[in-house]
Symmetry: C2
DNA sequence: TGGTACACGTACCACCTGGTACATGAAGGA
DNA sequence: TCCTTCATGTACCAGGTGGTACGTGTACCA
């Protein structure tokens, strides 16, 4: 029987897990099915079998990276006061590979490459939305919450790019601390637009 | 005569310019020599002839992008008060392609791909260094200047990633304005670390 | 006029690419 | 026991890959 829709299975899950692990180390964009297959101990035939095509594999890996990203969002402490704790979590060396892969897929998606459809839609909004809601709960007006959430996301991603390039945990953390100190404003300071 | 070192020439410059232009639209990482050659009206043979190899072409394109990046740094107004003017320059739609290509190369370099050697070294330090010097001139202490320069770079790149993904010029600009407002501190506020 | 360096095209090479055809063997249900 | 489904391997395919061999026209210079 021809598989029209690629179903899930234990074997597929195992391969996907291994493929993501390999993507974390080596990237995904410019690797061939054979390179990936050899690295994770299978044949390129099996990747086609379980994921339908190369693009199907890329889609599956991208979704898995998105899923882990959301998971990280869900479990990380989200209160404003915990910003520094969130940053400390991000700089953990065990997350470097995942962050690097995230930026690789991000750049790939910016060029409109196949397999990344929908990635950009969630890349910003998926983070801004919950943080904004939290800030509104904390009593910040809507415009201010939107801007602050977006700014916080930008600071985090910008400093992660810095960290990935330089490896300078201490320096980027000092910059992050500076940001949190800037946020520690005299009460009543208006965060909204003009 | 066999060209051991690929020399510069008018023909090479013309091809490089066209190749960069094409990279701005289509990226560079996963394009073949033939695709690039066809798009810019030459043969893949000529790209090999003038750049030695595919990697040589990538190196040349990456260097050209770096050069333009430095040029932008050199000509942009750099005083702290001009931060907003710099941002307005960055969001100009004509720069989107260049920024996208910058992030593509950045991600490529993070994976240690050939042709990007040295890119990361300058990606952060090349911007932080002059800005830090400027801030020190403006009377900010050394530690504070380092952190502020790094934070400013992170905000800029993080919001550019947002802008490239969402196309939301107004929203990212509001977030940037929020950042500059946070910087507008009561005089004497200490920017240095604890 | 002859020589030389450059710029370029055509044809080719071995190798790699994603994808397919087909066989096989194991597991499990009737 | 037979039949089906799943998982897998081997062999193959057409087409694309970076790179090379070789020839050629042109411009300049002695």
């Amino acid at each position: 029987m021809v598989r029209l829709v690629v179903a899930s299975s234990q074997a597929r899950d195992r391969l996907l897990h291994a493929a993501v692990q390999h993507a974390l180390d080596q990237g995904i964009v410019d690797l061939s099915l054979r390179e990936i297959a050899a690295a994770i101990g299978t044949s390129h035939r099996m990747l086609i079998y379980h994921f339908g095509s190369r693009e199907g594999l890329v889609v599956a890996v991208v979704r898995e990276v998105e899923r882990r990203e959301r998971e990280r969002l869900g479990t990380a402490p989200l209160s404003v006061a915990d910003a520094r704790r969130r940053w400390d979590h991000l700089v953990d060396p065990s997350l470097r590979a995942q962050e690097r892969l995230f930026f690789e897929i991000y750049a790939h998606a910016l060029l409109g490459r196949p397999g990344t459809e929908g990635f950009l839609d969630e890349a910003v909004e998926g983070w801004v939305s919950p943080v904004r809601a939290l800030l509104i709960d904390a009593g910040i007006d809507e415009d201010g919450a939107e801007g602050l959430a977006r700014l916080g996301l930008a600071v985090t991603r910008g400093l992660l790019l810095d960290l990935l390039a330089t490896g300078d945990t201490a320096g980027t953390t000092r910059a992050f601390d500076l940001f949190t100190r800037l946020l520690d404003l005299p009460s009543g300071h208006d965060l909204g637009h003009e």
